[in-house]
Amino acid sequence: MVPLNHYLILSGVLFAIGTAGVFLRRNLITVLLSIEIMLNAVNLTFVAVGRYHGSVDGQIITFFVMTVAAAEAAVGLALVIALFRHRETLSPDAFTALKW
């Protein structure tokens, strides 16, 4: 069986890709997608370490992370729609004012 480290390294690589996406993309939807990549990388760590310790708690936390991700996606996308209505753009650089 593949050792635990390989799972952790894969998870680190995925997390770094997600971080790069948040920094590099100029599109709010792709930024949200990058956050989902990061959440999934963390989920993989939880499941792998839970398997390593022979405990189901890792999978239970994964379940909670998925629900929180669903809530985050719902609210985040509602915000994206509301912002798009005001500015007709998805570039995060267009939203620099707290109020308009």
């Binding site: 989902e36 239970i60 985050e72 650089d93």
Partner: protein, 171 residues
């Protein structure tokens, strides 16, 4: 067999995640992210976590990504716009390069820290077998972590109300 499957799924996950970040059409990004989630579900199966694999497919690939697809189609913005000139100095080639370098440094740092730990193979004692048991997950979820479970349901309710209020058309 396990090793081959692990590297195949890992390669699919990394390549499709890179493409999600690397190309400009949000529609393609969402589709590629579904592929990445499928590969992660495969990895969960390899980790004796079929319950997590199935919830990954149903919740992530099934529900959350459909939400993203709806919004991408609703807003109908097929491409990323070029950056406006006023902020070009911050997010132009230089700033972008700094972001890429930061992410790369972060990844290398993580890898370095993980390499130092040394290889740790998974244990094979009989207790490990029951990690895949849905019965144990259910007991943990509804008995040991019941407060977190109920708090999550409240969170979902708040998110639902919040999404409706935020996306409502003002008049």
């Amino acid at each position: 067999m396990d090793v081959v499957a692990f590297y195949a799924f890992a390669a699919i996950a990394v390549v499709s995640s890179l493409l999600v970040v690397g190309q400009r059409n949000p529609m393609h990004s969402v589709m590629l992210l579904i592929v990445s989630f499928g590969a992660l579900a495969g990895l969960y199966v390899l980790l004796d976590a079929p319950f997590s694999a199935v919830t990954q497919i149903i919740i992530y690939a099934g529900a959350i990504m459909v939400l993203f697809l709806f919004v991408v189609m609703l807003l109908n913005v097929p491409r990323e716009e070029p950056t406006p000139i006023s902020v070009a100095t911050l997010v132009g080639p230089t700033g972008r390069r700094i972001g890429a370098v930061l992410a790369l440094v972060f990844g290398i740092e993580l890898l370095w820290a993980l390499m130092r730990v040394g290889l740790s193979p998974f244990g094979q004692d009989p207790a490990i077998e029951s990690v895949s048991s849905v019965r144990r997950i259910g007991l943990g979820l509804f008995r040991d972590h019941v407060f977190a479970f109920e708090a999550t349901s409240l969170l979902i309710l708040v998110a639902m109300v919040g999404a409706v209020v935020l996306a409502r058309r003002e008049r």
